[in-house]
């Protein structure tokens, strides 16, 4: 996987109007995270629960000596948890010098998407989804939501309201 990423990074310099995304799946929906923000992709991990933390925070884990906070994307998007027995994968992103691990169902390949396929968020999209979406890409068979990592990690306002 890491080779995929580095290759993709190499390519992105060449293609001007194309952006590279690591594709992820959550509850059947395709999302993309800009490849430059992705540090690592992990399999199932041992996660330490953090008491009193917002529900979206699954806990923290040890990534080669660094403590990484894990965010459950399903909870963040108000989706039911993964069925018992199924383990998710984690995608590690860097935000403000801190590492966060976003737990998703599946991590797919790196996609290079042109600016031509971008759509704005439809007005009917669920507000929570709209909050974390940085736009929609029309792919051949499906739609890809670009995840705005900063917005995914910023749930402080909503926590206070709740």
């Amino acid at each position: 996987m890491s080779r995929d990423i580095s290759e993709a990074r190499g390519k992105s310099a060449a293609a001007d109007d194309h952006s590279e995304f690591v594709s992820i799946t959550v509850a059947g929906q395709l999302f993309g995270i800009p490849v430059l923000q992705v540090q690592d992709v992990l399999g199932p991990q041992r996660i330490t629960r953090i008491p009193l933390a917002p529900p979206e925070i699954a806990g923290s884990l040890n990534l080669r000596g660094r403590i990484v906070t894990a965010i459950d994307l399903r909870t963040r998007l108000r989706l039911p948890p993964l069925p018992e027995g199924q383990a998710g994968m984690s995608i590690v992103v860097d935000y403000g010098g801190e590492l966060y691990s976003v737990i998703v169902d599946q991590v797919g390949e790196v996609l290079s998407l042109g600016a031509g396929t971008v759509e704005r968020n439809p007005a009917t999209l669920d507000p929570i989804w709209r909050e974390v979406s940085g736009g929609i890409h029309r792919l051949d068979k499906t739609l890809l939501i670009v995840l705005d990592v900063a917005r995914v990690l910023d749930f402080s306002a909503r926590v206070e309201a709740a």
């Binding site: 330490t48 008491p51 009193l52 933390a53 990690l153």
Partner: protein, 885 residues
């Protein structure tokens, strides 16, 4: 070689290397104030250090350079190539002097007046090209330029050109940048080794400076290694008689040692940063003709190396400032009734996940008027702005860049380098610096640095299947509690408590506090971690207790900072992440206030505003007799008991009960109160020395934390007054009154005999809280003292002026207006009472407070509610006085 000297050489050589680069950059960006500030500071430090070490030649050269740089900084002179060359030349001169210093351990004889004259001329504003050309002709610095170029080149090779111009030998310079690009370290050294007097310092080479990033990297690798080791050990356990057994065992040991070693490389005691301060202060006091005593506490407090490096200079600056600006001349001090010798106190300690460093002096404090003038003069604030500011806000101006209140610029300080840099450096590592200053009394700076990477010893506990670390420093003891054992958790309403050696310990369930969810099986036994925060002791209920481990504290992710219960997280030896509990946070979470500086200050402010603020007190609520519910501070109650009515006997018509092999008198809330005729009767046991007394009550209601604010004073004996506790009007009983009754009725004669030696001694009690005045007065009276009480320090000083005399003074610390520390220093410095022993009484009795109290002039420090200690301390203070007299 002298440690101080070798450190100076290492440090100065480093600074010079940085300066070379920075100066060249400055030439490119002559208007960059940050760059200029940095250069100025480095030269200032070199100059300062030379001065303290008694190196007049070096100091003179550095001083002249600093003057020129000062002109640059103030915009009085333009940064030109010639000027920069001249400064570089003076730096080379410093280097050559340093090299000789290193060889001979003394400054070479010689004269730099030529160079200094040119620098002074430049500062005065008449530098010509001739001056720059002359630089090169300096006999002691042959070809300084090639070296500079080689060093500067890798970063910005283009920069070279402007400097080369006045240089008569262009050839080697042209070559240098190109080569330097290829192999920088090697080529950079070569020209230097040729020039004998500027060769690489041998001392600097003795110790290797390693980039902290490299250490961080090593640490990460070691963590990985530990993980792998643990996996291997796990596999090994599954196999019998494996031939890998012995080598793996060795691998395991080596790994552990490696881990410890790498961790150690990062930690240093703060004393390392302080090592040269005594010398600096000594030399300063000679130079300034002041008498200064430097006291250092907590030198062994360990700090992360990186953090230590960052605060080293700020600390030196601050101590220097205290000595130079803070402490007055001996004559002046004597005139104000202070001891001639001024004191600068450095104090370092760990507190609640932070390292606190205090720098205090008993000098003249900040001059508010001068700060105001200066703020207006420099355009930082207008007169009307200042009028709206508090004294505290005005004092903060000293942290602004270029702000100096020193009337004259001395060679020690006063150029406006300092407090702004101090603050910038401390904030860079996520710390804060606060300052308190009282005119005529001195200033205190408090630096608070997060414990980001410090290693602490922690107790690992488990609760509801999760593991947590509790810093060992807050853990007093561990108690195993089981239903059938001696230690059994009891419940007061919904509040768990534990009887622990005649004390009632409030308990906190970690499971409830952290909302961990119930355990399926009810544990047959639990453990109680007895924890102390300030003077507040409480127990944390956990399921299991493991070992203690040395952990590296890492800060929690920003996203989790709002959760006050954790001071950080860490990775254990087995690779799992674990949260570190913050005892301060837990205490705060249970309603008990924290004892941090800020909380204390907030309380002070609140008290000053209207006397309504106050500390939270644990109160035991109970019902006895008619009327409102009653309350008594929990700390006064030794035990809660239930007695069988049938056990009550009568002696001299007074009820008594046999209790722990002795007769314990029972006291009722008032004369009309009737005890139950049968069944069980709850009593509150108050204990004083060997004597115990039972107060008969109807029912124990609850334990609450509340502010103790007496709303209505009551004349009835036995009651202090009425207060609102937990939303209800409640009578606060005067425990002292009931103790008196018990003593007078039962132990009167004995009590008199016991305290005969102290009989008739006059005690002055200064406390703003009527509660404590009422509580302590009968207690002290019973012990044979003649008690006078006043509610403020001002009143007490009034008595002093009125000619009253006392044998001992007891004073509260937190009081509105003049606080206890100020009161103590006033009494000790300039009053008739200066030989009267002073005892401090406070709810905050940490070692730090103790030191502070001693510094202010208190002979001893007693925690409120600790009656035994108070009586003991009084007796001791009086006997010490007798001994002295």
């Amino acid at each position: 070689m002298d440690d101080l000297l070798s450190e100076f050489l290492t440090e100065t050589n480093e600074s010079l290397a940085v300066l070379d680069l920075e100066l060249v950059r400055l030439e490119q960006n002559p208007n960059d104030p940050a760059l200029l500030g940095n250069i100025f500071r480095l030269v200032h430090t070199i100059k300062g250090t030379c001065g303290f070490l008694g190196l007049p030649r070096l100091e003179a050269v550095a001083h002249a350079s600093e003057n020129v740089l000062g002109k640059f900084r103030d915009g009085e002179q333009k940064v030109t190539a010639q000027a920069v060359s001249l400064i570089l030349a003076s730096l080379d001169q410093i280097k050559s002097l340093l090299a000789q210093l290193e060889a001979n351990e003394s400054e070479p004889a010689g004269d730099d007046s030529d160079l200094i004259a040119r620098l002074n001329a430049l500062a005065a504003g008449d530098a010509g090209p001739a001056a720059a050309a002359a630089v090169v002709a300096q006999p002691e610095t042959p070809a300084p330029a090639p070296k500079m170029e080689a060093k500067a080149a890798p970063a910005q090779p283009v920069l070279a050109t402007p400097i080369i111009e006045p240089e008569p030998e262009p050839a080697p310079i042209e070559a240098a940048p190109v080569e330097a690009k290829e192999a920088k370290p090697k080529d950079a050294k070569e020209p230097r080794s040729e020039a004998a007097e500027t060769k690489e310092s041998a001392v600097a080479a003795q110790s290797i400076r390693v980039n902290v990033d490299l250490l961080e990297n090593l640490m990460t690798m070691v963590s990985e290694l530990v993980l792998t080791r643990n996996q291997l050990m796990q596999i090994l356990r599954g196999q019998k008689d494996s031939e890998f057994g012995a080598p793996l065992q060795r691998l395991s040991h080596v790994t552990t040692e490696l881990q410890e070693g790498v961790m150690k490389t990062r930690m240093q005691p703060i004393g390392n940063a302080w090592a040269k301060l005594p010398r600096i202060v000594r030399d300063l006091s000679h130079e300034l003709r002041k008498k200064i005593d430097l006291q250092m506490h907590g030198a062994e407090t360990e700090l992360d190396r990186q953090v230590l490096e960052m605060i080293k200079d700020p600390l030196t600056h601050m101590v220097r400032n205290s000595a130079d600006h803070g402490i007055e001349m001996p004559a002046e001090r004597a005139g104000q009734g202070k001891p001639e010798t001024g004191t600068i106190t450095l104090n370092a300690f760990h507190e609640g996940g932070h390292i606190i460093i205090e720098i205090a002096d008993d000098g003249k404090g900040l001059d508010i008027d001068r700060i105001k003038q200066k703020a207006v003069a420099t355009g930082l604030a207008s007169e009307s702005d200042l009028a709206a500011m508090s004294e505290q806000q005005i004092q903060q101006f000293i942290f602004k860049a270029g702000f100096s209140t020193a009337a004259k610029v001395t060679s020690v300080s006063g150029r406006g380098v300092g407090m702004d840099v101090v603050r910038t450096n401390i904030e860079k590592i996520g710390g804060t610096v606060e300052m308190k200053s009282h005119r005529g009394k001195g200033s205190t700076f408090v630096i608070k640095i997060p414990l980001t990477l410090a290693i602490v010893s922690a107790l690992i506990v488990e609760c509801a299947g999760e593991r947590f670390a509790i810093p060992q420093i807050s853990v007093v003891e561990l108690v195993r509690a089981a239903a059938n054992s001696e230690n059994n958790i009891e419940w007061l309403n919904n509040a768990p408590v534990l009887r622990l050696r005649d004390r009632l310990l409030p308990l906190v369930s970690l499971q409830e506090l952290l909302k961990l969810g119930k355990r399926a099986d009810q544990p047959s036994e639990t453990f109680i971690v007895v924890t102390q925060v300030g003077t507040y002791t409480f127990g944390i209920i956990v399921d299991r207790v493991f070992d203690t481990e040395e952990i590296v504290v890492k800060p929690v992710a920003p996203i989790l900072r709002d959760i006050g219960m954790f001071s950080g997280n860490t990775i254990l030896g087995d690779g799992s992440v674990i949260m570190i509990l913050d005892p301060n946070g837990i205490a705060a979470g249970t309603g008990e206030i924290t004892v941090s500086e800020s909380a204390k200050r907030a309380a002070d402010t609140a008290a000053a505003k209207g006397g309504t603020g106050g500390d939270l007190t644990s109160l035991l609520l109970f019902r006895a007799g008619a009327g409102a519910p009653k309350a008594v501070p929990l700390a006064l109650v030794a035990r809660l008991e239930e007695i069988d009515r049938a056990q009550v006997e009568h002696s001299h018509d007074k009820p008594v009960v046999q209790y722990r092999g002795k007769l314990m008198p029972l006291v009722t809330i008032d004369a009309d109160y009737q005890m139950r005729n049968e069944g069980r009767q709850p009593i509150l046991v108050f204990a004083d020395k060997d004597h115990t007394m039972g107060l008969v009550v109807d029912e124990i209601v609850d334990i609450v934390e509340d502010q103790l604010k007496i709303e209505v004073a009551v004349d009835r004996p036995g009651l202090i007054g009425s207060a609102i506790v937990a939303g209800k009007a409640t009578d606060l009983i005067d425990a002292g009154f009931y103790l008196t009754r018990a003593y007078n009725d039962w132990f009167g004669a004995q009590a008199d005999g016991e305290f005969e030696g102290e009989k008739g001694k006059r005690v002055l009690l200064v406390d703003d809280s009527p509660f404590f005045r009422n509580l302590l007065t009968p207690l002290l009276s019973v012990a044979g003292y003649e008690v006078t009480t006043v509610e403020s320090a001002d009143r007490a000083l009034g008595l002093c002026e009125a000619g009253e005399d006392f044998d001992v003074i007891i004073s509260d610390i937190e009081m509105p207006g003049m606080d206890g520390y100020q009161f103590a220093s006033t009494v000790k410095n300039a009053s008739r009472w200066q030989n009267t022993p002073l005892v401090a009484l406070s709810s905050h009795a940490t070692p730090k407070d103790l030191d502070r109290g001693r510094a202010a002039g208190f002979s001893d420090y007693v925690a409120k509610f600790d009656r035994d200690a108070l009586l003991h301390t009084l007796a001791e203070a009086l006997s010490a006085e007798r001994g002295a007299a």
